[in-house]
Subunit: 415 residues, 2 copies
C-alpha cells in the first residue's frame, strides 16, 4: 500500500465528463489499496476567463484581490471532483489551499510555499477518504488568499508529496512522458523511462515544457520521485528521480531546442571591468530576459560580446544596445532575429569527453554553421540559423542513437 499524490492539469479536468473520468482513474488506485491525495488545476480556460473579468474591471489588476478571484478556479474543480468521487463510491473531501493549510509568503500572484499542515489530510486518509486539494493556491500568515503563479499546481503537488513523504508524485498531463526530443520534429523520438532531476531541469528550461520548472527543483531538493503520465492514455510515463537510481546512464538523455530566439552582438567593446554590466544592464532595465551570454577573449584591447533574447524583444534590445554602444565607444552592433538554440542534455556527459566534439562534427558534416556555443556540466548548447533547426535535431538524434533504449536500463517500470 503506497501513498500517492496525483496532479491533474486544466485539460485533464477541462469538462464535467473529464472530471468523471479522473474520478474513475483515482478510484482504480484506491481499489489497489493505495492512499491517494489529488491536486487539481482550474478547468481549462477558467483562469483566463477570470483574468479577463478582472482586467475589464481594472486593466492593471494584480495583488491581493486578483488572487481572491483566481483562487476560485481551483476551488470549483476540487468540489466537482469530490462530488464525482462520491458518485463512484469513493468517500472524498476537498480542501482549498487555506484549508489544508498551505502556508505561503505574502507575495501575491507569485507566492512561495513556506510550510504545509498535514494533520487534516492524514486524518482523512486514515478514514479511507480520498483527499482533493486545490493546486496553485495557499494562505499567508494573515489569512489572505495567495496564488503561486501559472503552473503552480505542479508545485503544490510536489510540496504535498514532500510534506506527506509520499511514495510518488504523479503529474497527469496531455503528453505521456518526457521524450528524447520533440516527436513532432523527430519521428522516432523515444519516451524516456527515467531521467534525473538535473537533466529534467535543463530539458524543461530549454523548451520541453512538460513540467513547471519550480516543481522539478522542489522535487529534486526534497527527493520526491516525480512521474509524468498521460491522463488520456495508459502507460508508465517518465520517472524523474535522483541520478543514483538510474542504473546505467546513457551519455545523452535528450535534445532540447527552442525557436523564437534572437541574437545580438556588439563588437570592438573596450575590454575593461564593468562593460558586461553596462551592456546587459541596459537590456534588463527594459525587463527583457537574456538567455545565453557569450564573451570572447579580446586581442587588441577590445572584445566581442553576444547574447540572445526572445525574438519579440529583439527590436527593443537592439535600440537599448545602440545607446550603450555609443556610450562605450564600441565598434559595431549587429543582430540576427532568426536563430534557434539546440541543447544536448545528459548527466553522462560529466564522465565522457568528446560529446562536444562529436556534436560539432555532426553539425559540420551537415554543412550547418554554429553561431554561438555555451556549455554547462550536463549540457551543450549551440545557436544556429533557424532554418537548420529540424535538420540539426534529426541528425543529432540519429548520431547519438537516442531512438534506442540505452543498454542495461530496464523498460519495465511499475506504475
Amino acid at each position: 500500500m503506497a501513498l500517492i499524490v496525483q496532479k491533474y492539469g486544466g485539460t485533464s479536468v477541462g469538462s464535467p465528463e473529464r472530471i468523471k473520468k479522473v474520478a474513475r482513474k483515482v478510484k482504480s488506485f484506491r481499489e489497489q489499496g493505495d492512499d491517494v491525495v489529488v491536486v487539481v488545476s482550474a478547468m481549462s480556460g477558467e483562469t483566463n476567463r477570470l483574468l479577463d473579468l478582472a482586467r475589464f474591471i481594472h486593466p492593471q489588476a494584480r495583488g491581493r484581490e486578483l488572487d481572491v478571484i483566481l483562487a476560485t478556479g481551483e476551488q470549483v474543480t476540487i468540489g466537482l471532483l469530490a462530488l464525482a468521487l462520491e458518485k463512484v463510491g469513493c468517500p472524498a473531501r476537498s480542501y482549498t489551499g487555506a484549508q489544508v493549510p498551505i502556508q505561503t509568503d505574502s507575495a501575491f500572484n507569485k507566492a512561495r510555499i513556506l510550510s504545509i499542515g498535514e494533520e487534516r489530510i492524514r486524518q482523512d486518509l486514515s478514514k479511507g477518504r480520498i483527499v482533493v486539494v486545490a493546486g496553485f493556491q495557499g494562505v499567508d500568515g494573515q489569512g489572505n488568499i495567495t496564488t503561486l503563479g501559472r503552473g503552480g499546481s505542479d508545485t503544490t503537488a510536489v510540496a504535498l508529496a514532500a510534506a506527506l513523504k509520499a511514495d510518488e508524485c504523479q503529474i497527469y498531463t496531455d503528453v505521456d512522458g518526457v521524450y528524447t526530443t520533440d516527436p513532432r520534429v523527430v519521428n522516432d523520438a523515444r519516451r524516456l523511462d527515467r531521467i534525473s532531476f538535473e537533466e529534467m531541469l535543463e530539458m524543461a528550461s530549454l523548451g520541453s515544457k512538460v513540467l513547471q520548472i519550480r516543481s522539478v527543483e522542489f522535487a529534486g531538493k526534497y527527493n520526491v520521485p516525480l512521474r509524468v503520465l498521460s491522463s488520456f492514455e495508459e502507460g508508465p510515463g517518465t520517472l524523474i528521480t535522483v541520478e543514483d537510481e538510474i542504473m546505467e546512464q546513457a551519455l545523452i538523455s535528450g535534445i532540447a531546442f527552442s525557436r523564437d530566439e534572437a541574437q545580438l552582438t556588439m563588437t570592438g567593446v573596450p575590454d575593461h571591468p564593468g562593460v558586461a554590466y553596462k551592456i546587459i544592464g541596459a537590456v534588463s532595465d527594459l525587463n527583457i530576459e537574456v538567455d545565453m551570454i557569450v564573451q570572447n577573449v579580446g586581442s587588441d584591447g577590445t572584445t566581442d560580446f553576444s547574447f540572445t533574447v526572445h525574438r519579440n524583444d529583439y527590436q527593443s534590445a537592439l535600440e537599448a544596445l545602440q545607446h550603450a554602444a555609443a556610450e562605450l565607444g564600441a565598434r559595431e552592433i549587429y543582430g540576427n532575429p532568426r536563430i534557434a538554440k539546440i541543447s544536448l542534455v545528459g548527466v553522462g556527459m560529466r564522465s565522457h569527453a568528446g560529446i562536444a566534439s562529436k556534436m560539432f562534427e555532426i553539425l559540420g558534416s551537415e554543412g550547418i554553421n554554429i553561431l554561438m556555443i555555451s556549455t554547462s556540466e550536463i549540457k551543450i548548447s549551440v545557436i544556429l540559423d533557424e532554418k537548420y533547426l529540424e535538420l540539426a535535431v534529426r541528425a543529432l538524434h540519429e548520431a547519438f542513437e537516442l531512438a534506442k533504449p540505452p543498454a542495461g536500463v530496464t523498460n519495465s517500470v511499475a506504475c
Copy 2:
C-alpha cells in the same frame, strides 16, 4: 459620520459594468464621510451555472462539497468589486465568509450564522478602507465552507450590521422599495416610506418577495434599521424599522397576494383528537409545504378540514389525502387548484375593529365569493377564486385609500 452596511444582489453586480457602477455608488457614500461595509451576491446566473455543473457531475449534489463550489460565486464578486473600488481611488479589501470569519453551524447548504468576528473589519475601517464581504457564506467550527441557502446574502448583511452596530443596513435591489401592493396589478400602488418589521414579515411571506424573510426576522430581533432601495435609480426606498418609530400608523400598510395556490378540503372527518395530525402529516411526509389551515367547528360529530398548498403540489397532496380519508373514514375529498390568496397587512389593525368586516363588505359588493378566511393580529387573509384576484386587490386598494400617504407620516426620509 455613519457606519453603513450595504448589500448588492446578483442583478446589481450582474456584469463588470454594473460592478463598476456599484463601486462609484459606494464611493459617493465614502466621500460623504461614511464608513461602508459592502456585502455582495454572486453575479446573476453564476450560482445557477455552478449548480448545473455540480448536478451534471452528481444529480443529487448537496452537502459539504456543493458549498465549496457555490461559495466561489460570491468570492469572484468580492475580488472584482474590491478591484473596481481601487480603480476609482477607494482603498478596499475583500473577505470571504471564512476570512471575516462568519461562524455558522454545520448545516451545509442551509447553515445558520452563530457569530461574527468583527476585528478585521474594524481594523480596515479604521484605516479608511471599504470592506467588501462575500454574502451567502460562512465557515463552521471545523473550518468547512458553508452556505446559508438562497437569498442568504441579505442575512449576511443584516447579521454584519447587527454585529457592527451599524446605523443602517441598506439592501439594494431591482425595485425601489416596498409598495402597498404589486404596481403591476394596481397602477397607483404607493411606495411606503416606512414599514414595521412585523408588517414586512407578513408582506414578504405572502408574496411581495423583496427581502429574504430570515433577514427581516434577524433585523427585527437585533433592531437593525433596514432600508430597501434600488441599485439603478435614486430615491430613499423604504425603511423597515420598529413600530414605535412609525409616528402615525395607517390602519393598513399593504395588500399582499399570491397566485399559484391550491385548496384541498376533506369533509365529514370524525371529530376527535389526532385527526388534524393524520391529515397534515400525510401531506408533509411528502415534503409538501402547507400554507393556510382552516378547520370549522363540527356539529354531527364530524368536521370539515381545509388547507392550501402550492399549485405544483396539488396532485400529490390529493393522492396523499385519498389514503388518509380512507383510513379516517371521511365522507368526501374535493379540491380547487385555481385559487389565490389576498392578505391585508397592518399593525393598525390591532387597535381598530371593523377592518375584517369592511374587507368582506368590499369583496361582497364586487360579487366575489370568499372560500376561506384566516386571521392573525396584524393580517387578514382570504382565499378566493383566482379569476377575481386583480379585481379584489384593486377594489381593496381603493377602498382602504392606500394610494394616499397616511396623515402625519413624513415623506422626507433622509438617505
